[in-house]
C-alpha cells in the first residue's frame, strides 16, 4: 500500500493533471456565477486548486474529484467573500416553513411556446443570475453540472432534505423569472 502522506512531487502532479485539472472549466463557470467577475473567478479557482494540491494526499484517486473541488471552491468563496461583504441580512426562506413540506410546484411553463424558443442564451443566463446566490448555486449544481442530492448537500453544507426543497424553490423562482421575461417580450411585440 502506498503511504499517501509521502507522495512524490511526480505522483501529486500526475493526480493533479489527470483527475483535478480536467474540471477547471466547470469550476471556473461555478466560480464566475458566484462572483460575476473574471478576475475574481480566476483568483477563486486558483485558490481552490492550490488548496486541493496541498491536500492531495487526502484525495482518493478515482473518487469524485469534481465534487471535491466544488466543495473546496464553495468554502473558499464563503471564507473570502461572505465574511468580508456586508450583505444585507440574508433571509433563509427555508426557515419559514415546515421543512418536510415541499411547497406546490409553480404551474409549469410551456417551454415550446414561441417566446421561449426565441429566448437567447444570455437572456436565460441573466434570469438565472438574478436568483439569490443559494438558489442559483442549487440550479447550477443540479441542472447544469448534474450533481446528486448527496453531492449538493456536501458542497453546500446543508442536509439532503434542504437540497430538495431548495431546488424546488429555485426552479419555481427561475420559472417565475422566465415568465416575467415572456410577459415583457409579449408586451414589446404588441407595441
Amino acid at each position: 500500500m502506498v503511504n499517501k502522506d509521502n507522495l512524490s512531487k511526480q505522483d501529486k502532479d500526475k493526480i493533479f493533471n489527470g483527475e483535478l485539472l480536467p474540471h477547471a472549466n466547470a469550476l471556473y463557470n461555478f466560480a464566475y456565477s458566484l462572483v460575476f467577475s473574471e478576475a475574481k473567478a480566476e483568483d477563486l479557482v486558483q485558490e481552490a486548486f492550490l488548496k486541493a494540491y496541498r491536500f492531495i494526499h487526502s484525495f482518493e484517486p478515482g473518487s469524485n474529484a469534481k465534487a471535491w473541488l466544488f466543495q473546496i471552491l464553495k468554502n473558499a468563496f464563503i471564507n473570502d467573500y461572505r465574511k468580508n461583504s456586508r450583505q444585507p441580512q440574508k433571509v433563509d426562506f427555508e426557515e419559514f416553513k415546515d421543512k418536510n413540506q415541499l411547497e406546490k410546484q409553480a404551474s409549469s411553463i410551456d417551454i415550446t411556446q414561441d417566446v421561449y424558443t426565441h429566448m437567447l442564451g444570455d437572456e436565460v443566463t441573466n434570469a438565472l443570475n438574478r436568483l439569490p446566490v443559494d438558489f442559483r448555486v442549487a440550479i447550477i449544481l443540479s441542472d447544469l453540472e448534474g450533481f446528486t442530492y448527496e453531492e449538493i448537500a456536501k458542497i453546500s453544507d446543508i442536509p439532503i432534505g434542504t437540497v430538495r426543497s431548495r431546488l424546488f424553490r429555485a426552479r419555481n423562482l427561475m420559472k417565475e423569472e422566465l415568465r416575467e421575461y415572456a410577459k415583457e417580450a409579449g408586451f414589446k411585440e404588441m407595441r
Binding site: L21, A41, I139, G146, T148
Partner: protein, 78 residues
Amino acid sequence: MKKSHDCKEVVEQFNMLLDGSLNPKQEQDVMCELQRCMHCLQEYNLEEKYRNFVKEKVEKKCPTESFIGKLKDCIKGL
C-alpha cells in the same frame, strides 16, 4: 391493493426521478403513476422540457487559455 393517486406526491417523485435520485424500481412506479393521470403526465413532460431548456440555454463561462497555463506553471513550481 393499489394506493390512490396523489398528484402532489407524484410531482415530488418525478422531480426526484429527473434529478436521477430514484432507484430503478421507484422509477418504474413513478412511470406507472404517470400513466394513470393525464395532469401529472403533462406536468412531467413540461418539467422535462424545462430542464432541457435550462441546460441547453444557460451559457457557461470558460477560463482563458492563458489562465490555465498560469495555473499549470504555478502547480509545477510548487
